[in-house]
Each structure stands twice: as C-alpha cells, then as structure tokens.
C-alpha cells in the first residue's frame, strides 16, 4: 500500500508524457486524485492505538551498501502524507484550469515532485530519506526556473538565478546531511552489520561525541529547508520567481519536511545532542518567529507576506518540537498540517488576486470584497485560521506548542507568545489590504474585480472545508499522532514510551494527558 501511494504519482506522470498535450492537465489531476484516494484508504485503515509502523515495506535495495527500500506509516507522517496528497490535488487542479507552457513536462515534474515528497515522508531508511529529500528539489528547480517569473525588469533576479540560489542553499544542507547519514550508519554499526534503518539505528545509538557534529549536519539541512532565520536567504527570490501552483505545494508541504525531519531523524537518533543544543535551536526558532512576523508586516508583495509568515509559523513548529515534551511535539505535528492547509489556499488566493488586479503589490489591491463576496469569505476563513483564531485548529496547535514550551522553557514561551499577536496583525493586514479599502489606482477600479469562478472554487472550497473540518475536530489528528510522538519524545527524555501507562488509563485520564493537565512520568 505504501509503495502504491509512493509510485502512483510518478506512474501517472510518466504515462502523461505519452498523451496528447491537451489531455496532460486532466490526466495529472486524475493522478493526484487517485493518490489522494490511496492516502485516504491508508488513513482509514490506520490503527491509532499503537506507535509502531504500519503498512511497512522492507526490501533490500542496495544490499552491498546496507540501504533498504523501507517505507512505513505511523503517527508522525500519516497526516503529512494526507496533507501532501490533498495539496497536490489542489495545486495541480488549479494549474490544469489554466493554460500552461510546455504542459506535458510541467505536469510530469509536478507529479515527480509529489512522489519525491511522499517518499521523504514515507522513508524509514535513513539514506532513502536523504535520497528523497534531495530529489524533491530537482523537479522544483525546473518548475521554478523554467515556468517562473523573470523579475530582472523590476530590479530583482531572473527565475534561473533565483532557483540556482535556492538549490545551492538547500543542497549545502542536504549534501552535508548525506555525509552525516552515512557516518551515522557506519559509526553505529561499529564494524558489524551495516544498516541505515531508522528503527535499528535508534536501538544502536551513537556516542555523545559523534552525535554532536552529526546533529548539526542534519539540523543545517532541515533549518535551510524550513527556512529558519539566517538560513532563509534563498526564500524571497525563489518565492517571487515561482509559478503559483507550484509555490502553493512547495510552501505548503516542503517546508514541513524540515520540521518532520527533526521528529523522524534527529530526536530519536541523536537524543543527547538534542538535549544539549535544545536552547540554541529554540533561539533560532524564536528569531524566526520574530523576524518572520516583522518582515511579514512590512512587506508589500503578497507572496512575500505569505512567505515570511511561513518563516514565523515554522519557527513556532520548531519551538514546539524542541520543547522536547509530548504536548509540544503533538502541537507541532498538528500545526504542520494546519499551516500547510492555510498557506496553500493563501497562494491560490494570491494567484486569483493577481489575475484580477494585475499586481502583486498589496497597495494596488483592495475593494474586492464587495464585488467578490464569496472569495472574500473564503479568504477570511483562511486568514482567521492563519492568525490562530480560537476555534480554529491552528489555535489548538499553537496552544499545545505554547503549553509544551511553557513547561519546558518558560522564558522562551513568553517571547513566542508575541508571535501569536503579530500573526494577527499580518494576517489581517493581508486580508484587509486585498479585500477591503478602496482600490489604490483608478485604472484598476472595477475593471477586473469579479467573483471567484466555479472551477477555482472547486480548488479552493475543499481546502477551506478541510480547515473548517479540522477546526471542528482536531482530535482527528491528535489521537492518531499522540502514541508515536510520545514515544519519540520519550527517547530524548531518557525513558521508554509511556504507552503501557496510557493503555491502562481510563478515558478521562487520557483526555487529561492529552490536554497536558496530567503528566506521565516515565
């Protein structure tokens, strides 16, 4: 099942190359929908009482090098897989409703990107993870570079230059990660049977000294991908250059792979180093929150507002993970899904706004709400979710994160709270600037303002429904992720998974545990 999920998009992509040009778009949509179907089937059959891997596949791939083709689903990646499948349907469908240059290659690359992203979520072998992590970049390099927007006329960079910057930044991290991953396997094997299986490596453990340098090689890769403050240099140019359907999935999913990597790889394999460098990473996370927020409410380009807000949100997620408590990481996983679900619609809306106003500058937008009330309503829901309005799943996610952070590092928590306030400002500024106010320039007035079309609604409405659905029932995610997250965090805190304790508890006690009121002492 995992294999079907992984390779379905690629198979559709390859077949699509042999179809006539006009069929490429619908075919690609079909491919993503089928993938989503498989992902939903996996989620339905998921057993949420256990922290062990489900739908596991484990075959030797390169036996001489100890690399296995090993996939699996657990609480950490289940919803990220669903998120990937959902957003790809949205992104590809949105693109399919429009004319694309060189369409067959475009959809092929989009589907390759989906396979690579799903692969990095599913992989349970360290080298396989690194492979997919690097592979994700290749299709986006072409998508951003060849279908991107040349900004050299406005004093920016060409699309090719922007993507080169992006790929060099991200690969700096991932190549070092490749070395670090191999070193992890070899040091852990210590002359014995070489394996890169994450589960086996978790059992073997590494010496403290090795963990220290390997931790940073991995952290660098993940922090660049997010991007975190100081390592975000590639982000503004790349976000300005990217074609919007590709950017929606890129921003919605790829940034999460970094955060997911911390949970999947760093915490279980390098627990000593994680504890040792907890505060350094928390500082980076806080800096990301503050810097991202401040930048988000000073930028005027709508893409960059969304981009910098992502920096801030991922700072939150990182902070939640590095609270090193179950509730913080629970919140982080929930928030990864939430953020993916809000940022992708934002980029879709941005694309619609750009089509209507012909500008990406928020100062030249405005006044749309009257003429396009449905679009405005959808945007309002998304914006309110972005600022973590109480009642939204984002609120629950941020609450969990802050709850974890408060109990772990109270000082950091106080600073992080300011990020919540700032997110309200930039989200509302974006919404008001685009929807309310009066159109800034006369020639824009009324000319292109129109309601969202049926086909774009078909893309946007399901995404917004997902946001609402999660807002109503965040337990959907939390109860499935909790066992795995607790086991992951327990490893760092030097104890065994509190599953046994959980299993013996009554329902009320479980609820208390989940809300953080009762703590399990390992």
């Amino acid at each position: 099942m995992s294999s079907v999920l992984l390779w379905a998009p690629l198979a559709f992509g390859l077949l699509g190359l042999f179809l006539p040009r006009r069929a490429a778009g619908p075919w690609a949509v079909l491919g993503t929908v089928v993938t989503l179907g498989v992902a939903i089937a996996i989620a339905v059959g998921f057993d949420n009482g256990t922290s062990s891997l489900q739908y596991a596949v484990d075959e030797p791939w390169i036996s001489g090098l100890g690399v296995d083709y090993s996939l699996g689903v657990d609480g950490l990646n289940l919803f990220l897989i669903l998120l990937t499948a959902v957003l790809w349907v949205g992104g590809v469908a949105f693109a399919a409703f429009r004319e694309q240059r060189n369409a067959k290659t475009f959809y092929f690359l989009m589907l390759v990107a989906e396979t690579a992203t799903l692969g990095s979520f599913l992989a349970q072998d360290l080298l396989l993870f690194v492979l997919f992590f690097d592979l994700m970049l290749v299709p986006f390099y072409f998508l951003f570079g060849a279908w991107g927007i040349d900004r050299s006329a406005e004093g920016g960079t060409t699309a090719a230059a922007a993507t080169l910057k992006m790929i060099v930044y991200t690969l700096i991290g991932s190549l070092l990660m490749l070395v670090a991953a191999i070193a992890t396997g070899i040091i852990a094997a210590d002359g014995g049977q070489l394996t890169f299986s994450i589960a086996a490596l978790r059992e073997q453990g590494l010496s403290h000294g090795s963990q220290q340098w390997i931790f940073w090689f991995f952290a660098a890769a993940f922090l660049v991908k997010m991007p975190a403050f100081l390592l975000h240099g590639w982000m503004p140019d790349a976000y300005r250059a990217a074609p919007l359907p590709a950017l929606a999935v890129f921003s919605g999913v790829l940034a999460k792979v970094g955060a997911y990597g911390f949970l999947r790889v760093v915490l279980p394999l390098f627990p000593d180093a994680t504890v040792e460098f907890q505060e350094v990473i928390l500082l980076v996370a806080l800096a990301s929150i503050l810097y991202g927020s401040v930048m988000a409410f000073t930028q005027t380009n709508v893409r960059l507002i969304a981009g910098y807000s992502s920096v801030a949100q991922l700072g939150f997620i990182t902070a939640g993970i590095f609270a090193l408590r179950a509730d913080g990481s629970d919140g982080a996983v929930l928030q990864m899904v939430n953020h993916g679900l809000v940022v992708a619609p934002i980029f879709v809306i941005v694309a619609l706004l750009v089509e209507r106003t012909g500008s990406e500058d928020i100062r030249e937008m405005g006044g749309l709400a009257l003429r396009a009330p449905v679009l405005a309503a959808l945007f309002l829901i998304v914006a309110l979710a972005t600022l973590a309005m109480p009642g939204s799943a984002n609120f629950v996610g941020e609450f969990y994160i802050l709850n974890g952070l408060f109990q772990a590092k109270i000082v950091f928590a106080f600073v992080a709270i300011s990020g919540v306030a700032m997110s309200a400002y930039y989200a509302l500024r974006l919404y008001q600037g685009a929807m309310h106010n009066r159109p800034a320039s006369a020639q824009n007035q009324g000319l292109l303002s129109r309601e969202i079309g049926f086909r774009d609604g078909l893309v946007l409405v399901p995404l917004v429904l997902c946001i609402i659905g999660l807002a109503l029932y965040p337990q959907l995610i939390l109860e499935r992720t909790a066992p795995t997250v607790e086991q992951t965090v327990a490893k760092v805190r030097g104890g065994e998974a509190p599953e046994a304790q959980l299993a013996s508890m009554s329902l009320e006690e479980k609820a208390e545990v989940e809300s953080g009121a009762l703590e399990i002492v390992p």
């Binding site: 001489g64 993507t163 690969l171 070193a183």
Partner: protein, 501 residues
C-alpha cells in the same frame, strides 16, 4: 639441454590477441578503397569480440606471462569500461571531420591501439608492462588529439598532450627507477618483498620513488596540480576523442593506480595516504572552482573531470575493498554520465555554428527535448543528484571514505559538490530557462568568404541514430543504475574483491 616450453594461457591473453589482430585488420582495411568504409564496423566487431572474451574470463583470476600481467575482475571491469567508451567513440566518430582527414583506417586503428594499452594497463603487475602499457595507451592518443588536421586547436592540443604526457611518463619512469634500485625487483609483489627484506620502510629512496610514481599517475588521471593540460587538450581534440580520453584513460590509469599502490606499496600506506588525500582535496577544489567560469562545454567537462578525479582518488586513498569497489562503480557511472554529455556536444557542434560553446545548447529544452534530456540527466548526475548513478556513486565513495576514517575527505566531496552545482546547473538553465540564441541552429553565419570549417556540418546531426542513440543509451543507463543500482554494485564489488581477498 632441455628446453621447457613455457606455459602460455591462450584463453587469458585471448582479449589481447583479439585486439591486436583487429587493430591490424582495421589498419589494412583503410589502405584499400573498397574496404575503407568498413573501418568503423570492423572496429566495433573487434571491440565486441574483446569484450566477449573478457566476460568469458570473468571470475577466474590468474597471472599471465609469468606474472607480468594479472587478469582478474578488476582488470576485466576496467577493460570493459574502456571498451564501452571506445564503442561510443566509434559511433560518435561517424561522419566526424577528423575521421576523414586522418583516414578512417588509421583513426580507428589508433583508437584500438589505445584500447589495447588500456586493457594491458588494467592487468599490469610489473613495472615493465606497466610502463609499456601506459605508453601504448598514450601515444595513439597524442596523435588522435591532433587528427582534426585543419584546425589549429586540434594540433595544439595534440602537441600539448604529447609534451605534458611525456613529462608525466618520464617522471613515472624515474620514480620506477628508484623503486627498482631500492628493491631489485620489477614485479609489484617483488617490490613489496624487497622493501620488507632490505629494511627500506620509510627510506628516502622509496619515498622519492613513490612520490614520482604518484605524480606521473596524477598527470594521466588529471589530478590537480598536474591537470593544467586537461582543459586545453579536451577543448582542442575532436570531441569523440575527448569523450574517450576523459573516461577511458581515467579508468585505466586508476586501475593501475590501485594495483600499484596496493600490491607494491601497501606497506608504505602511512607515508602516501595523507599525501594522496591532500591531492584529492586540492583536485576537488581546483577542478570545481576552475569550471565555474567556463563557457566552453568541453573545457567545463575538463575541469569537472579534474574534480571528479579528486572524488575518485578518495577510493584509492582508503585502500580497502569498499574503496576499490566504490571507485570502479564511480568510474562506470562516470562513463555513462560523460558519454551522454559528449554525445550531445557532438550533435550540437555539427548542428550549430557555436561549436562547443554553452550558447549552442540554449533553448534546447523546448526545441529538441531528445537532446536536452540526456545532457540534463548527465549534468544532474555529475552534480550527484538522486535517482542518477552519480548519486549512488557518491554515496558509495563517501561510505568507503567514512569507513576508512577519512570523514574529512567525505565532507570535502560534499563541499566540492556544492560548488559544482553552480556550473552544472548553469548548463541546465541554459537549456531550459533561456530562450534560444539569436542565430537559429543550422543558420549559416553571414560572413562573406567564411571558411567551410566554421559551418555546421550536418544540421540534422542530433536526430541521427549514431548520435541520438548513444546519448539516449548513456542517459538511460545513468538513470537506470540510479534507481536499480544493484547489478552495477555487484559488478563493482567483484572488482574490489579481486584486489583484497
């Protein structure tokens, strides 16, 4: 007096016999007008027969000619890489101007001569066969580089290669003299024994010998700082020959590098290991930085070859079974990656007026996807991106390096790879992200009296089977072995086991 007939293992030397016979036949075929056209075909048959005979000897290691040669899986795998490259070179040489100018028979027999040298070199276990093989390999190449008789660059390239190559050979020979002087043996095994017997451990005589031998081999494998000839020679030589030189010479020289340093000088590991590691690091740095500013694709691949040789030298440095296997794997992957790139360059050289300039591939993605994809795959693979053989090769090398306690060199490879992205991706960007250059491909320059040399030879070159075929084949192999590397890994681990068990 009794005369003992020496035992001759005809099966073992059959590949050499096949090559020699083929060489003579091809040379003769060039003499007669009706048979002239057969030269490429006969060359291919010779190469095929040799490859078949080599595969027949697979997994049956044995010394040949009283221990002067050793036919084992390392030798066979390297020879197969060289033969494959030569076969590609034959296909790409069809309708090449150099072939016609030098004479088809001569051109192809020189090529076979060089292959003969490589097959010998991969088996050499004696200083004499080592040197003779190296010269057999090199001398035909000096001439082949200059076969584009009416182009100044080609002649310059041949002469430059001759002079620099001779310096390399002379240095190597001088180094061998020291080793022979110290140990009294020419056999690799005898040298190792001699060092132990005469108490020459760490003796200056031996160290000088090792250093000079390493320098000589560094010239041949174009390892910095002995690489200066590489970009110039690569650029000037006819492109099919450049492709052959870039891949096959490197493979054969690395084979003897491994054998010589393992069998003869293994006991001096502590002395040469750090020095070779430093050479590898310098090579990675110099090659990658040098390639950054290149507009000529052949020069770019030349510098990239310097950097790649640095990566591969890592496999020699660790002197282990996995090091050797990873090196052979990387050489095979390198062959596919480079051959795909050179095939496309050959096509564009004949189609456009830009020669091997990067402008020749601008806009190729939209206009000629069947040419653009092989070059794209080749560049991504050389940069070590996943789902290509290049990634698995790097993974293999890094694993060997970390195992051999050379993690810093592994990090160096990673750093070098980052730098390399800037120029590999520049080529990719030129194909996919830039509009086509003003002068349409095939359009002739509007210069009155322009020499016919500057004109495109064949505006349809990229669609011809003998160019598009190799390009697609090599790039398909690059991707195939990136996704299903197991067969190639087994092939390479056989080679590693040959030297270390």
């Amino acid at each position: 007096m009794n005369f003992n007939e020496p035992h001759i293992d005809y099966a073992g030397i059959s590949p050499l016999i096949a090559l020699t016979v083929g060489l003579c036949v091809v040379l003769l075929s060039g003499v007669f007008k009706p048979t002239k056209r057969w030269a490429p075909g006969l060359t291919t048959i010779t190469l095929g027969a040799t490859a078949g005979l080599l595969i027949w000897q697979w997994d049956d290691p044995k010394p040949l000619i009283t221990g002067a040669l050793r036919l084992d899986d390392l030798a066979i795998s390297i020879s197969l890489i060289a033969i494959l490259t030569a076969a590609f070179c034959v296909a790409l040489s069809l309708r090449e101007r150099a072939t016609e100018e030098a004479g088809s028979g001569e051109y192809h027999s020189l090529l076979l001569g060089s292959v003969l040298g490589m097959v010998l070199l991969a088996q050499a276990t004696n200083l004499v066969t080592f040197f003779v093989a190296l010269e057999t390999l090199s001398i035909p190449l000096y001439i082949l580089c200059a076969t584009n008789l009416r182009r100044e660059g080609s002649l310059e390239s041949g002469l430059k290669y001759l002079i620099v190559g001779s310096i390399g050979s002379a240095t190597l020979l001088y180094g061998m003299a020291f080793l022979y002087g110290g140990t009294g043996a020419t056999n690799f095994g005898g040298i190792a024994d001699g060092i132990a017997r005469n108490g020459l451990d760490g003796d200056p005589l031996i160290l000088i010998g090792i250093a000079m031998a390493a320098v000589g081999l560094a010239f041949k494998t174009s390892i910095a700082p002995f690489h200066q000839w590489t970009p110039d020679v690569y650029q000037g030589a006819p492109t099919p020959i450049t492709a052959f030189m870039a891949v096959a010479t490197k493979a054969a020289a690395f084979a003897v590098f491994l054998r010589f340093f393992d069998v003869a000088l293994g006991s001096q590991l502590d002395d040469w290991q750090p020095a070779l590691a430093a050479l590898a690091a310098i090579s990675i740095l110099v090659g990658n930085v040098g390639a950054l500013g290149q507009d000529s694709l052949k020069r770019l691949l030349g510098y990239s070859g310097v950097a790649q040789a640095g990566y591969m030298l890592g496999g020699v440095v660790v002197l282990s079974e996995s090091g050797t296997s990873s090196l052979v794997f990387y050489l095979a992957a390198y062959a596919f990656m480079n051959l795909a790139a050179f095939s496309v360059i050959v096509a564009r050289e004949r189609e456009t007026v830009f020669g091997d300039d990067i402008r020749a591939v601008r806009g190729l993605g939209a206009e000629r996807p069947l040419l653009a994809w092989p070059l794209t795959i080749s560049m991504l693979a050389l940069a070590g991106l996943p789902a290509t053989a290049g990634f698995i090769g790097k993974l293999y090398l890094i694993e060997a390096l970390v195992e051999g306690d050379y993690t810093w060199l592994a990090v160096f490879i990673a750093v070098g790879t980052m730098i390399s992205l800037a120029y590999y991706l520049r080529v990719v960007a030129a194909m996919w992200m830039r509009p086509e250059t003003e002068a349409a491909p095939g359009a002739r320059p509007v210069i009155a009296g322009a020499s016919p040399e500057a004109d495109p030879v064949d505006p349809e070159a990229g669609s011809r089977w003998y160019i598009a075929g190799p390009a697609l084949l090599a790039s398909a192999a690059t991707v195939f072995f990136g996704v299903i590397p197991q067969p190639l890994v087994e092939f390479a681990s056989h080679a590693g086991a040959a030297l270390f068990s």
